[in-house]
Symmetry: C2
Subunit: 308 residues, 2 copies
Amino acid sequence: MSKVLVLGHKNPDTDSICSAISYAYLKNEMGMVAEPIRLGEVNNETLFALDTFKFDQPRLVTQVAKEATQVILVDHNERQQSADDIEEVQVIEVVDHHRIANFETTDPLYFRAEPVGCTTTILLKLFKENGVEVPSNIAGLMLSAIISDSLLFKSPTCTQQDIDAAAELAKIANVDADSYGLDLLKAGADLSNKTLVDLISLDAKEFEAGDHRFEVAQVNAIDVEEVMARQKELEVLMANAISTKGLGLFMFVVTDILNNNSVAIVLGEKASIVEAAFNSSVLDNRVLLPGVVSRKKQIVPVITEALS
Amino acid sequence: MSKVLVLGHKNPDTDSICSAISYAYLKNEMGMVAEPIRLGEVNNETLFALDTFKFDQPRLVTQVAKEATQVILVDHNERQQSADDIEEVQVIEVVDHHRIANFETTDPLYFRAEPVGCTTTILLKLFKENGVEVPSNIAGLMLSAIISDSLLFKSPTCTQQDIDAAAELAKIANVDADSYGLDLLKAGADLSNKTLVDLISLDAKEFEAGDHRFEVAQVNAIDVEEVMARQKELEVLMANAISTKGLGLFMFVVTDILNNNSVAIVLGEKASIVEAAFNSSVLDNRVLLPGVVSRKKQIVPVITEALS
């Protein structure tokens, strides 16, 4: 049997990395030869989780077709968020918690998407459905992903299922979810060693709506103004991305993880839609987004609707 | 809570109708107000199943947006196979066993597709996962769908999971799967009262591949030559559909359910691809397809590949 690669999205976040490792573990236990890989650099938050639970980073693979004919996608399904050569391999499974778009197969496959806050909440079900025990260190990674995606259970994307799964995983991993979770988020919000390029590419995702492409980059911060002090320099990079990628809108979102608000820099010929879409004024390319912390639930659907 | 409509594909087959009824039952048990509907006429095979297990036909609804804001799709996901106004409602769930294509949402949803032979095989899992017992008459419908989609377990789409689910459902429904199954298939293969229009529209599905649209209609028969005797008349209707719908290829497949072979009539400017795709000569617009019984597994991927 040839090896199946298990991969999360580009600009991997903690869920993408931890889901790839955890699901590859499950598939191996079920008799498949599966290897988790990553499409890009691992962020500080994820590194903290990997260090805590004693995992190495998955191997960086950018051309999947060179290594495998079959892949499993976790934590994403849209092709522009996946490996650049994803069209050249067969996607045999998807486990995800995002909207479905730009995804097409010629054959039936296993596709499991659920409207929960984190991919590993679904993975915990798959461990149970297949009668495989979650090892303690894998449970730690899966818990980390839930804490990360739910901003320690405070994001509107967080469901009761995520809370229950986290409680179960914390017990298996033998950690206190709240204190470990705050340390994890703080590790991710430490932007002191980040370059400007890091900031806008760390957790950036591209989307399509109507005839438009847009990108939403998000960073978590303790001190939002520290990031916003670099606004003018960030705008140069954003304008560059807009022209290179042909984007109608680039939104750079800085989320205050302690107070659960965001502020965004918006650029692009479609930037004007942001005012009406969020009912908030854009001043100096900057818009306040009170109570907004979730790109998936509070930003992408709003922009998609406005652009369609 | 407003009512959620549960619907299978256009030109509904036994799986589409029985899955809609069965899943609506499950969702109602779980506290949702759900109603199964159908997008078209019920075929003879499905009628036999409904009669046997004492169900009325679901209500015919062709404009779903007039009645609901949210729908659940079973046994399909491609928008051209769904209600004409599907874009006007929110798809909150999909349970399916086909390839994924032409499907897009703005929000996360519950999407459960598995590469098994029948939707109700997945539904049986969902009953169990949600701790709801399958009533005897619902089990009969779910069994009927598996028998129909798997041609009594002989189609290459049939998996061990389908066989196991059918055995479990037959026990709950208290019927012998093999003898009931043969009666069910025979009821469906009775084409004696079918008009020409019935024949080419009974179980017809449209697909897209590359820049082309193609349609594959399939009928099950005991006496294949009885159907093929009407080839010239069928070709007139097929040519009409090709020009009306802008199809590159129309394939009308007659499947011999006793011997598990098919013969097809092929028309359209792309009809020539069929020879190479199936490694079989087209004579008088007719091609023999030995061992081919599954549109999903043995026809659509082959045509899609050839047209892409």
